[in-house]
Symmetry: C2
Subunit: 213 residues, 2 copies
């Protein structure tokens, strides 16, 4: 499946507030999300697998790739399109050796050095952040706009900005050269998921058109 990282939904069930997880993700897909990542920091392996299988069915319906955070074993078990690893997860080179050639690899990179190393180790996509203060990941180091631009310039693979991205501020990382934005709260928090996703996707596309003008 083609890599289109324009609007990358990273799921966190803690944001549901009683709503159905699959319903919220489906509305986001209808709104124009181009990738979905299942991130489950506290789930058991079995629960993670069950959620991943349910999400795989849903994302396939919308022809949108499913990525798995951290757990390569879950990604293998559901034949996910990609797996995303942070700097404290299994390193990219070790991951490349145990995932199939067709499975894409995303790596979190907060510095130019990490970004270049990840690309050299076989990463297909980088996530850089937190580009703005975020309540979702309070321990995330901040990535300055200038660093983000340097990262984008230093690698040949697409970079997505993550961390505190909103409809109002996404033009800033987009101007720095990212291929898209990854969001948790901006899609999972608003009561109208569909409208939130649509507005974000429209804004990303507007920024991309502006950049290509």
């Amino acid at each position: 499946m083609e890599l289109d990282p324009r609007l990358y939904l990273v799921t966190e069930r803690s944001h549901l507030e009683g709503r159905s997880f699959l319903d919220v993700v489906e509305l986001a897909l209808q709104g124009g999300v181009t990738m979905v990542q299942l991130r489950e920091k506290d789930a058991s392996g079995r629960e993670f697998l069950e959620l991943a299988l349910a999400l795989r069915t849903l994302t396939q319906k919308y022809h949108v790739p499913l990525w798995i955070n951290d757990r390569i074993d879950i990604a293998l078990a559901v034949r996910a399109d990609g797996v995303h690893l942070g700097q404290s997860d299994i390193p990219a080179d070790a991951a490349r050796r145990i995932i199939p050639r067709e499975m894409l690899l995303g790596i979190s990179a907060g510095t130019v050095e990490q970004a270049v190393a990840a690309e050299a180790a076989g990463a297909d996509l980088l996530g850089s952040g937190a580009v703005f203060p975020t309540a979702t990941k309070v321990d995330a180091d901040a990535v300055a706009e200038s660093t983000l631009a340097e990262i984008c310039a230093a690698v040949h693979i697409p970079v997505v900005a993550i961390g505190g991205v909103t409809l109002q501020n996404l033009h800033i990382p987009m101007a720095a050269g990212v291929a898209g934005v990854a969001v948790v709260s901006a899609i999972m928090n608003p009561p109208d998921t569909l409208a939130a996703a649509k507005a974000l996707r429209d804004e990303v596309d507007r920024c991309l058109r502006k950049r290509n003008d």
Copy 2:
């Protein structure tokens, strides 16, 4: 590597009390441990991998198999001899599909039903417990001696007893028909690891000889 589950050390770093992890495991290996499992419930993927790589080097020196708890991805990355999964981890059939044919699969089974299902799904070894009250896993359901004997009789693969096993009580699960015992505290708590492992191994071997008489 041959499956010899007579004395199965399950590691937990919380029991070290300042001692070196690798030193303690090495003494246990010198004392006669026949399998080592790395169990890390809270480590990051990267930390887990680094520990697993260090343990692999050590266990290879003693020609003893290394098993990994839960994280199939770590097991794949270090080419572990086996992976052990609990009932809340990825199910045995899904695990079998993503691990190489030569990697052994252990499954926790607390009932005859779980044991038979695990064997049918491709398990090579079962861990049954807790056979005695244990401080290591306070949430573990108790497995009665009679259930343990039923499990051993119901499957063709070896069963190891786990949970609160000591030098004093291991003859009880051995009499129920298990192929060996898995221990955490009985090896990792005593200050003299070598002597503790030796005594346990002697006692397991004594029980096996008695059974074969």
